[in-house]
Amino acid sequence: MSVVDVLHAATGILLAAAALLVLLRLVRGPAIVDRMVASDLLLTVVVLALVADMAIGGHTRSLPLVLALAGTAVLGAIAVARYVSKHDRRPEESAAPARGPAGRES
């Protein structure tokens, strides 16, 4: 097992961990915008995994898929952001928006 193999294995493990963390935020996310950011990032991690698979396996079969995803990934975020309105505002923040340095912790 050479150095390159170790690096490849570490790449796969780190990508899987990143996808898990992003998935956690996707489930938790308090607002629709947080979920949209997380799902955008999840798609990016998938694209990165596809590219890493191509580079490690020495083929270029997934390249059209990567090209299409890079071009169309933006549509989901734009479509969701278009229909997010003020009515989705969280109730505790619409009543009295917090101002000033108080509550900087957390």
Partner: protein
């Protein structure tokens, strides 16, 4: 043991992309509001993807791969700011941005000024267009 330097460099670039993806995952999970989560999420979207595609070009070592990779990078660089702009505006509108974390909010000044000077038609439009 002979070391293939281009293969080693490709593996290091792949690892760089994966580290950026992991840092973005940690940031998205732990940062407090939507804007800082977007800040964390942008790193693998641009730099991580470019590093991994460079590794792919190094690993496949053909010019045709480079020709297919360049439009991917161009499309990603063009479309990521569009998504960030729309999401940031929507997040500001629905209150996913924590005001107490901002040092200076110039958009709020502009909205106040527009609401002071504008009459009822301006106020009606400010709900959608701010």
């Amino acid at each position: 043991m002979p070391v293939d330097w281009s293969e080693l460099l490709a593996a290091i670039l792949l690892l760089l992309g994966a580290v950026l993806a992991l840092s973005a995952g940690i940031g998205v999970l732990r940062f407090p509001d939507a804007l800082s989560r977007m800040h964390a999420a942008t790193k693998p979207q641009n730099l991580g993807l470019i590093a991994m595609l460079a590794a792919l070009v190094l690993a496949s070592s053909s010019w045709i791969t480079l020709l297919a990779v360049l439009p991917v990078i161009a499309l990603q660089l063009i479309t990521t700011p569009m998504a960030a702009h729309m999401l940031g505006r929507a997040g500001y509108r629905v209150g996913s941005v924590r005001q107490d974390l901002l040092i200076r909010d110039e958009l709020e000044d502009d909205i106040r000024r527009a609401q002071r000077t504008g009459e009822s038609p301006g106020r009606r439009a400010s709900g959608r267009d701010r």
